[in-house]
């Protein structure tokens, strides 16, 4: 039951977040300081998600064999490759590392 409520609530919240600007603000922009913080939430939360994915609660899910794959993703990104190429490259490196380890 909790899952259904959570999904329904998130769908409504998501709708409101996306609709708020175009429906209410129209062409009027957010105050610059507010806009700057909201815009900066993405890197903060993406970094947070990356870390909890990598470490898990109590750091119990940490697997060092994922690190070379993530490093490969970083290198491919710096070379200007697309998202899918970065991900495939990272996965291939991870598979290779696990096969060798």
């Amino acid at each position: 039951m909790t899952v259904w409520v959570a999904i329904g609530a998130l769908a409504i919240i998501n709708f409101v977040i996306k609709a708020a600007g175009p429906a209410l603000l129209g062409d009027r922009p957010l105050p610059p300081r507010v806009s700057l913080v909201v815009h900066s939430l993405a890197p903060a939360l993406l970094a947070g998600l990356l870390i909890v994915q990598l470490l898990g609660e109590g750091w119990r899910a940490f697997d060092w064999k994922l690190l070379p794959g993530l490093a490969a993703i970083g290198v491919l990104w710096m070379l200007g490759r697309s998202q899918i190429v970065c991900l495939i490259g990272g996965v291939l490196v991870t598979v290779a590392i696990r096969a060798l380890a």
Binding site: K18, V38, A47, I51
Partner: protein
């Protein structure tokens, strides 16, 4: 705004083409979401419905992991909402490019997805709504189909690990994070702080709390701005 106002590379058809590329990128992520949700005990129907109505990898994944980690509903919703808050400034930025009454603009804004929003940017603060619609339509189909495949195939955790698919989510977040370095001022500093903060928190606190509090790093962007507020150059236009 008439269709003739757009350069040839804009409109529905180029949007669909862009959407194919974006769809190929999100498909394996969606498969992983479906498989992981099944592994963690979510039933088939709500998992697929989640992808149909939410359409946000970060938000869905945050909801899934925080709920199944035992965090309560408010924390899980809080984490997912904070992640999806990035759609607020995106919505504000496209507001001037959408047409019609408020309800119609609100519905049109539901097609805002990270990749589509970026692809629709024309420069000068203008967005091609048709290109965004086309790109998002293809991504939505890929996202839902990928979730169905993940749920139905439901690869076991051992298989997911041996195929390296457990790297897809952290890898996906890493790519989005690196992309944000191009459009968000001080993003490397914000991300570095968030990594240290979350790394410490997740050792002692539930995942939902750690993700929620990682958002505090976003306030770093205001340091040094004082009362004069942000420099106009901080509000970087999307590439």
């Amino acid at each position: 705004m008439s269709r003739s106002d757009f350069p040839p590379e804009f409109g529905w058809r180029p949007g669909l083409r862009v959407g194919v590329g974006l769809g190929l990128a999100v498909f394996p992520v969606a498969v992983s979401f479906g498989a992981l949700a099944t592994t963690l005990g979510w039933p088939m129907l709500p998992t697929i419905l989640c992808s149909v109505v939410v359409v946000s990898a970060g938000g869905q994944f945050a909801l899934l992991t925080t709920l199944t980690a035992g965090s309560g509903l408010p924390l899980a919703l809080g984490a997912a909402t904070l992640i999806n808050l990035r759609f607020l400034p995106m919505g504000v930025s496209v507001a001037g490019s959408l047409v019609g009454p408020a309800w119609k603009r609100a519905l049109a804004a539901q097609t805002i997805l990270d990749g589509s929003w970026a692809a629709a940017y024309q420069g000068g603060g203008r967005y091609d709504r048709r290109k965004m619609f086309g790109a998002s339509a293809v991504q939505w189909v890929a996202w839902v189909l990928g979730t169905v495949v993940g749920v139905v195939a439901a690869p076991q955790p051992e298989l997911v690990e041996s195929l390296g698919l457990d790297l897809v989510f952290p890898g996906f977040f890493l790519v989005l994070l690196l992309d944000s370095f191009r459009t968000t001022p001080r993003a490397p500093w914000i991300a570095g702080t968030a990594i240290l903060l979350t790394g410490g928190l997740v050792f002692v606190a539930p995942i939902g709390v750690a993700v929620l509090l990682s958002s505090l790093a976003a306030f770093l962007v205001l340091i040094g701005r004082g009362r004069r507020g942000p420099d106009p150059s901080d509000l970087v236009e999307p590439a």
